[in-house]
């Protein structure tokens, strides 16, 4: 993300939010771990046993050189190789919209981990709706800086859409947080349609249903 909101510590607000959902000392797989910022944060803040998968070679090599346990791989194809219940948490941070098969990816996450944590940019945010409805063009925001013809993001969804995916993928929602444009959580008591309108990003903590 280009200009993600950051806390005074310098850490990205959405990553802090994710890390707060993770139990101390847990075994964690970060799918699409980029340059390893979240894994490093999790190791520092939550003392986790962290692993990562990253599709870009540069990202992987940077992570490994930092001493993180990261392999080069593709969320769409390589999650199938992991055994059931191998991790306490499987995290998909700002990556869902770039997967080819979000449903399959989510189902694997719920299979591999006892919990899944998914964060994504909310396509239901009012500013995006406005750009599409009035501007008549695909949206550009600080979080979504790409032109439509070169974006890696091929499966956008709104918070409302994601809740629907949770239903079909057999996920139980344990916690959900939406962040407004300044990276502040939206008050919990608000109804879902407010979240869907005001939340620029969302973070969901999920577990397998039944």
């Amino acid at each position: 993300m280009a200009d993600a909101a950051r806390a005074s510590s310098g850490a990205r607000v959405d990553l802090i939010l994710v890390s707060e959902m993770v139990d101390r000392g847990a075994k964690v797989l970060d799918v699409g771990c980029g340059d390893g910022e979240l894994l490093r944060l999790l190791a520092d803040m939550r003392d986790v046993d962290g692993r990562g998968i990253e599709i870009s070679r540069e990202g992987v090599n940077e992570c490994v050189a930092k001493g993180l346990a990261v392999i080069q791989g593709d969320a769409d194809t390589d999650l199938a190789d992991y055994p059931d219940d191998a991790f306490d948490y499987v995290i998909l941070s700002q990556t869902l919209q770039a997967t080819r098969q979000p449903r399959v990816v989510l189902e694997h996450m719920l299979r591999i981990g006892r919990h899944a944590i998914v964060s994504f940019p909310n396509f239901g945010h009012w500013r995006i709706r406005l750009q599409v409805a009035l501007g008549g063009h695909m949206p550009h925001t600080d979080n979504l800086p790409y032109a439509w013809y070169e974006t890696p993001n091929i499966h956008f969804c709104s918070i409302k859409d994601f809740r629907e995916l949770c239903q079909v993928a057999g996920a139980k929602m344990e916690r959900a947080v939406a962040l407004n444009a300044w990276g502040a959580p939206i008050r919990l008591k608000m109804p879902w349609w407010v979240w869907n309108l005001m939340g620029e990003q969302a973070v969901f903590l999920l577990s397998r249903r039944g």
Binding site: D49, R51, R57, V60, N61, C63, V64, A65, K66, G67, L68, A69, V70, I71, Q72, D81, Y82, P83, A86
Partner: protein, 391 residues
């Protein structure tokens, strides 16, 4: 052709009395071989660098490749060239001799001081030759474990190696998982492919087709199958490089001439280079050792030792792994490394995997590849923190 200057007898002297530390294992400590026989007495020639700490937790074992030896970071006693992994091992380098106690041993079956077919058979007083039992990668690792015991080290901080060395690294983690804290298998595989066995067979046939090979009894008969061994080396050397690297280095350029000679001289630079590789190799390597070590690689198949399921070999492993491959390595391609990673993940191992972009082929692991060096450094630093090794 340039003539080799070293006679087999000179090589044999390095074999029995090497310029190295030597650990002797007498009949009370035999090496039990996969072939079903015991090797005893035998010896292991090895080099060490750096200091073992008081807790004995900073030992790093380097495993050498097919034609390597224990002289990983010092001038070679025969070739007078600098250590074969001088880019990686040394003061301040990723495998830091100021931080770790580094051990590198000549493998069983080789010819630089550890017992092999060129060594003197104590029963006959003559070189073993083909009477030497066929050895496996597991045997090499079993012998190394005896050396590590001999040095009073319970657990190795890291085991590092490329190619055949990488096979030994993997075998270490399977044979002695509790004794390996971290493992760096580079440009390697859990099994030798059919194509690689095929290349090895060509090399062996080149040696055995040399009339000077004399059924392996060339020491007794005063000959040396240097043409056969040189051809084996030339063929193998091509597999260590890549089309792109050969093209970049030599292209179709002529060697010291403007026009072709219309003969079978080494007109092309690439021919001259290969001939040089073959000839210099003969000076430092024993032909029978080449047969034995290539055979050990051919037999290597970790999955076969575990009912055909590779993941079973690594199940519950406590070792941290960092697997590295190179884009242009067609001898041990990235797919082989991915298979290792796949099995390690299925076994729940803590594994990192990086593929390095290079056109230098299999040999890249021995060369100055900054990205590989950064990754090895980062991985070992992280493991050292986890192991509580302070700077």
């Amino acid at each position: 052709m340039v003539e080799a200057t070293l006679e087999p007898a000179d090589r044999a002297r390095e074999t029995d009395n090497p310029h190295s530390l030597v650990a002797h294992f007498d009949i009370d400590r035999p090496l039990k071989l996969d072939a079903g026989v015991e090797l005893c007495p035998f010896q292991i020639a090895y080099q060490t660098y750096g200091k073992l700490n008081a807790q004995r937790t900073n030992a790093v074992l380097i495993c050498h490749a097919l034609t390597g030896d224990q002289h990983v970071a010092n001038v070679h006693p025969i070739t007078q060239k600098s250590g074969w992994w001088e880019t990686l091992v040394g003061p301040g380098l990723p495998v830091d001799t100021e931080r770790y106690f580094i051990i590198c041993a000549n493998v069983v079956g080789a010819c630089m001081g550890t017992t092999g077919p060129a060594s003197t058979n104590p029963k006959t007083g003559h070189p073993w030759g083909l009477d030497f039992p066929v050895i496996t990668v597991r045997d090499m690792v079993r012998a190394q474990a005896m050396l590590v015991d001999h040095l009073g080290i319970e657990s190795l901080f890291a085991v590092v190696g490329g190619s055949l060395g990488g096979m030994q690294v993997l075998q270490w983690t399977v044979s002695y998982p509790q004794r390996v804290f971290s493992a760096l298998p580079i440009a390697t595989s859990t099994r030798h492919s059919a194509q690689n066995i095929a290349f090895h067979e060509v090399g062996r046939q080149a040696i055995m087709a040399d009339p000077d090979w004399r059924q392996g009894r060339y020491f007794a008969e005063g000959t040396n199958p240097r043409r056969g061994l040189a051809v084996a080396r030339m063929g193998a050397h091509i597999t260590y490089l890549s089309d792109a690297a050969l093209h970049r280095k030599f292209g179709r350029r002529f060697q010291d001439r403007a026009n072709p000679t219309f003969s079978f001289d080494a007109d092309f630079q690439v021919e001259s280079y290969l001939r040089h590789q073959g000839i210099t190799f003969v000076e430092r390597f024993d032909a029978n050792s080449y047969l034995y070590l290539t055979r050990a690689m051919d037999y290597f198949d970790i999955a076969a030792d575990h009912d055909g399921v590779l993941a079973r070999a690594f199940k519950g492993t406590p070792t941290r792994f960092c697997v590295i491959s190179f884009t242009s390595d067609w001898l041990f391609p990235t797919a082989d490394s991915r298979a290792i990673v796949h099995a390690l993940n299925a076994g729940g191992a803590r594994v990192s995997f990086a593929e390095i972009v290079t056109d230098k082929g299999h040999d890249a692991f021995l060369l100055d590849e900054p990205e590989m060096l950064a990754i090895v450094r980062g991985f070992l630093d992280g493991a050292a923190r986890a192991r509580g090794l302070m700077r």
